[in-house]
């Protein structure tokens, strides 16, 4: 310990500042920690496969003559319109990749802090509960937006570039808003969904399974109930189908199931409400000092 004394302790001559966004270090750290996981990187990279395929379709749609031998009269398949963008954002492959990214990047967001008692160190800083939760949610915001909004906007821009005109934009001036709206919905929903499950257990591995199973089990349950009761309302039990229902509304398309979209919206909102309630009960600054 004499060695420690010899090194000494020097007072810091800087000034502690209030941050405009006190949650930002939490978000940045959450994103960096996710990239240290091998499996996360694999699925995150896999999440860019759907936009690459969609980009190929957009390119082909502008070069129909070059691909006529391949298409053989099926040119309608690659009609680029709002439905195409809706299909891109609601396709099963993309949603699967988002869920897998959240399995690896989101499971430990709160579970690890509960397990390793780090809440007490967070809240001994000038960081409120809202800042903490916003910081954690923003990690999910980042990954979901990078996999949905960003590629969708790029696809939109590439469509204009490949077409060499603004006709597509003038035909569908509201499409960018639809993309932003649906990406925002996915982002907010998955943020609440991930944090809800992450706050339910201290075991990160268990939460990983929960995130995966809750999403896919809801589909299985919905399919079973639809077969048993023969009513389309059973799609309300499926996370994926509810997202598709709301997506159809936002892109001005016919909903895929004969259920009012407002019900699907309410189901998604209920999950967010449940998440808020659970997070409010689980994360209490005053109780971190025992």
């Amino acid at each position: 310990m004499d060695v420690i004394r010899a090194r000494g302790y020097h007072h810091w001559d800087g000034r502690l500042e209030s941050r405009r966004f006190p949650w930002w270090p939490v978000t940045r750290t959450g994103i960096r920690l996710a990239f240290r996981k091998k499996w996360f990187k694999l699925f995150f990279a896999g999440g860019f496969l759907p936009p690459v395929v969609a980009l190929g379709f957009i390119y082909a749609s502008e070069r129909l003559g070059d691909f006529s031998s391949l298409l053989r009269g099926n040119a309608k398949l690659i009609t680029i319109d709002p439905k195409f963008f809706m299909s891109f954002l609601t396709n099963d492959g993309l949603l699967f990749m988002i869920v897998m990214v959240l399995v690896f990047a989101g499971a430990g967001l709160i579970a690890d802090d509960l397990k390793h008692n780090s809440l007490q160190v967070y809240f001994s800083r000038p960081l409120g509960k809202k800042d903490y939760l916003l910081g954690k949610m923003a990690v999910v915001f980042f990954f979901v937006l990078v996999l949905t909004f960003v590629p969708a906007v790029f696809l939109f821009v590439f469509k204009l570039v490949f077409a060499g005109s603004f006709k597509f934009f003038l035909d569908y001036p509201w499409l960018l808003l639809s993309i932003a709206g649906y990406s925002g919905l996915l982002t907010v929903f998955f943020a609440f969904y991930t944090l809800l499950l992450s706050a339910l257990s201290k075991d990160g591995r268990y939460v990983m399974i929960l995130i995966f199973m809750a999403y896919f089990f809801s589909q299985v349950l919905s399919a079973i109930l639809r077969n048993v009761f023969r009513t389309p309302y059973m799609v309300l039990f499926s996370v994926r189908e509810n997202l598709k229902q709301v997506g159809a509304l936002l892109f001005g398309q016919k909903p895929p199931h004969g259920v009012p979209v407002v019900w699907s919206f309410l189901v998604l909102a209920a999950v967010c409400g449940l998440s808020t309630w659970v997070l409010n009960r689980k994360i209490r600054a005053a109780e971190v000092i025992r």
């Binding site: 310990m1 060695v3 420690i4 004394r5 090194r7 000494g8 302790y9 020097h10 007072h11 810091w12 800087g14 502690l16 500042e17 209030s18 941050r19 006190p22 270090p25 939490v26 750290t29 920690l33 240290r36 430990g108 690890d112 802090d113 397990k115 390793h116 008692n117 780090s118 007490q120 160190v121 967070y122 809240f123 001994s124 800083r125 000038p126 960081l127 409120g128 990160g204 600054a285 005053a286 971190v288 000092i289 025992r290």
Partner: protein, 304 residues
């Protein structure tokens, strides 16, 4: 005065956790003592601004405990009792991260993290994953994160728990260095009375939500009672004990027959000899003892 509270009261529903607690923190290290349920944690929660007291007022480093909660948490350092870390991080990233959350610029926080990790003796392992740290290393890490933003006041909650003797000795030396040479006020909450006695010049003792004793250890040891140690002939202790207790003395007997007599203030030591005469016992050893913190704690809290 770095910390001052007056007439603090706080209840959890019908249970009163703190009642009319007032004290001021002196210089150096101050010990916060009390049995389980005494109100120590509630007091720390109020001082860190997590709870607002029902009644009473207080300031921490000049910040009001009701209004300036975020400012208090920026200015003080807190070392929790439990092991705590962020999975997947190394010590430098962890320490810098919490420096940044305290309001330090990112680059400064990183530079400072290296400095405090050197200071607490984690320089060799500062790039190792925290998941692989031993109990002693985690304890030093908690100290580093509490010091990274250079607080003027440090709250240490059971800083030597779960440590082996060597680790405990090193952490105590570190705290002593901080409290006595680094111009940082330390409030040390611990169940290990030897630690408090070794480090603190003053103590605050809570019992059942109330302030049981507060002040400099030297003063507390002498003002309220005197402690005498004595021995009597084997078999005579019982009757002598009854006689002393009738005089409002508290009497403890050790396994080897040493009798400790806590005399109330104002009572003369000759009363002990008079009691011996009345009981017909022969005193064979008599010495005025210096009261230990353990004696003081037992006296004010009423437990052995």
């Amino acid at each position: 005065m770095s910390l001052e509270v007056s007439h603090l009261r706080f209840s959890y529903g019908k249970i009163t956790a703190l009642d009319d607690v007032s004290f001021k923190l002196g210089q150096g290290a101050v010990g916060l003592l009390g049995p389980n349920g005494a109100g120590k944690s509630t007091l720390l929660r109020i001082l860190l601004g997590f709870l607002a007291p029902e009644r009473g007022e207080g300031t921490v480093l000049g910040y009001d405990i009701r209004r300036d909660q975020a400012l208090i948490r920026r200015a003080v350092g807190y070392m929790p009792e439990d092991d705590c870390f962020v999975a997947g991080m190394d010590a430098v990233t962890f320490t810098a991260y919490f420096g940044e959350l305290s309001g330090m610029p990112r680059q400064e926080a990183m530079k400072r993290a290296h400095e405090v990790l050197f200071y607490v003796g984690l320089e060799e392992s500062r790039y190792r994953l925290l998941d692989t740290y031993s109990a002693g290393m985690k304890q030093r890490l908690k100290m580093a994160q509490a010091l990274v933003h250079d607080p003027k006041l440090l709250f240490l909650d059971e800083p030597t728990s779960n440590l082996d003797p060597q680790g405990r000795k090193e952490v105590l030396e570190l705290i002593e260095d901080i409290a006595s040479h680094k111009d940082i006020q330390v409030l040390l909450s611990s169940h290990i009375l030897d630690d408090i006695e070794a480090l603190c010049s003053s103590v605050v003792i809570l019992n059942k939500g109330r302030l049981a004793a507060e002040g400099r250890l030297e003063d507390l040891r002498s003002i309220d009672y005197s402690l005498y140690e004595l021995r009597v002939k084997e078999g005579e202790a019982k009757v002598f004990r009854r006689e002393l207790e009738s005089l409002d003395c508290r009497v403890d007997e050790t396994e080897d027959g040493l009798i400790k007599v806590y005399m109330p203030a104002g009572m003369e030591r000759m009363e002990i000899f008079r009691a011996a005469t009345r009981a017909g016992v022969q005193i064979r050893y008599f010495i005025k003892s210096k009261t230990s913190l353990e004696d003081l704690f037992a006296q004010v809290v009423g437990v052995d």
